[in-house]
Symmetry: C2
Subunit: 342 residues, 2 copies
């Protein structure tokens, strides 16, 4: 007898778009001391700020290591649920499950294989087990996908189209020997995706090998925000130009061309010799709101207003994110939406 309940998917799974209604937002309490160093406390304050901001619009669960539960609870304050589970790091977008709807509109979860962004950080066993643990906690049907992937590497329109970068997903540090077709087949089965729009890569300093969530995302079917290439001297210029060309030539799963809206980028900045990867694209659409990272940069206002205009029915909220991006990601990277039943 061969049994494969967790690795064979039923027909009809589909990942909803991020702007569809959420049941809850999942986050993780900062904990990797070698990553944050002396800035760990600042990071925790910043994560707690993000959690409280989101909690004005939808419930938030903060996953925290068992020994950090008391601190997380105190710093987040009332109204944030704390769930004790072992964590190596705190990027729930990448280490949490990707939630999908089943054919009846119920909730299911995809647990991707995880290797800490191509084995950049050790240890990573708790993070590799986290998706399964979250789904077990929710008593939610779980499917283990045969692909090393982080949630920040994909953006979907909820209607069968997915944006991704080749540099991250097809990287030999994650899926050696895997090609486009094989990956697209997995996205078809696990996420209900019939059209993948492949961008070339992401931001040069991004330790994720260029997650799409720092450079482009769907904001509605047929409409995409994308990082503006900026100036020719910018190390990201060529890549972002290439990506824009691909987006403008692309068709979505329904055969539509895409409206592409450029979002300015903040200036390059280093702290402690570490190049910060700052992107306004790394925002989080909560129920009735859009939580936008800002960086004390001259481009803050313009970027904020572009994103706010994209979601005219939502309340735009700016959150200071320099203490988050010091660890490598933005607001989108530290959040994982659990969609409501369809």
């Amino acid at each position: 007898m061969t049994d494969s309940a967790l690795t064979t998917v039923p027909a009809g799974l589909r990942m909803p778009a991020e702007w569809q209604r959420h049941e809850r937002c999942w986050m993780g309490w900062p904990c990797r001391t070698l990553l944050w160093g002396e800035r760990l406390l600042a990071a925790r304050r910043a994560f707690a700020d993000v959690a409280r901001t989101i909690a004005d619009f939808e419930p938030v669960t903060m996953v925290a290591n068992p020994h950090d539960v008391a601190e997380a609870s105190l710093m987040c304050g009332q109204g944030i649920d704390i769930l004790a589970l072992p964590l190596d790091d705190s990027w729930l977008r990448d280490t949490g499950p990707s939630f999908v709807h089943d054919a009846e509109g119920g909730l299911a979860g995809i647990a991707w294989r995880f290797n800490a962004w191509g084995e950049r950080y050790l240890p990573y066993g708790d993070d590799a087990a986290l998706s399964a643990a979250v789904l077990a906690h929710l008593k939610c049907p779980a499917f283990l996908a045969p692909l090393v992937l982080e949630g920040g590497a994909i953006s979907v329109d909820g209607e069968g189209t997915l944006l991704a970068t080749e540099s991250s997903i097809l990287n030999p540090n994650r899926n050696p020997g895997r090609g486009w077709a094989e990956v697209e087949q997995i996205f078809a089965g696990y996420l209900g995706v019939s059209q993948v729009i492949w961008l070339a890569g992401g931001l040069v300093h991004d330790e994720t090998d260029g997650h799409v969530d720092n450079i482009a995302c769907f904001v509605a079917p047929g409409r995409v925000l994308a990082a503006a290439p900026g100036w020719r001297i910018d190390p990201d210029y060529e890549m972002l130009r290439t990506n824009l060309e691909r987006l403008r030539a692309a068709r979505d799963a329904n055969g539509r061309a895409l409206e592409v809206i450029e979002v300015p980028r903040p200036k390059a900045r280093e702290i402690d010799g570490r190049a910060l990867v700052r992107s306004y694209l790394n925002f989080y659409p909560a129920n009735g709101a859009v939580i936008v990272p800002v960086f004390d940069d001259v481009a803050d206002d313009r970027a904020f207003s572009v994103i706010a205009k994209t979601f005219p029915e939502r309340q735009p909220v700016a959150v200071q994110a320099n203490d988050v991006v010091y660890g490598g990601g933005g607001i989108h990277c530290i959040t994982q939406p659990q969609p409501a039943r369809r």
Copy 2:
């Protein structure tokens, strides 16, 4: 609200002894090509042999990577259940859950934290997630223990006593800063253990930093098999002497002294420059049987008969294990018993 269903254990969990009745045996299909090299096929044949041998006495589930399912199914033959789940390596004793009884005698599972024996092998994300995945598949209550541990690092008598080596569990490559008392507290809560007998260490060439399952195990309450120290020139001599002294001085959870029976060891042997870690102690008690590894060694018969005499009511079965130990472990290392309800 603070929530910790998966990390807070109810009262009354207890790990049964291995000789208590099993519902099933879990194994994993060899897959880490960098470990097995050209001997991968031989390893698969050997694992299939072990599976078929055990299946004469109790049901066996072979976990195999999704792309290995067809091969595993063909090589194992009828009567072995194959379950598709992602695996990095194939030592289910160390990567599977430790099954326990709850206060009512029902089944529950402990998922230990896993870091590939102190980060000796990469990747290890699939193995770190395996226990949770197996427990999700079984729809069995799961508890995530806050300790890096492999199942081969412990042996219990089912009555509250546990054998372990300091060199493995207290190693800074697994649980830095953790001491005896803290670990004993975790064993108390998760395994129902009130007395831990700490041995100093294991075999020098053992990549597990000296798992107890190569040097000593309970075979009945109050009775232990232990590896014989052998000769003074043997690199394991001093450590095994120390362990014997500790065993002879120890008391179990019920205050009993232990009867300690020495088991001879096979001769040292290398293949491809790799020192094989061969131990007769690394056997598996199946329902009504005891599956004993043999090595084409002059000590085979003596060791086999010592172990057979220890289980007079069971059928002793010898299995050639050189092709298994090439990968680092024995029959005990590649099996994980799922106990029957109490």
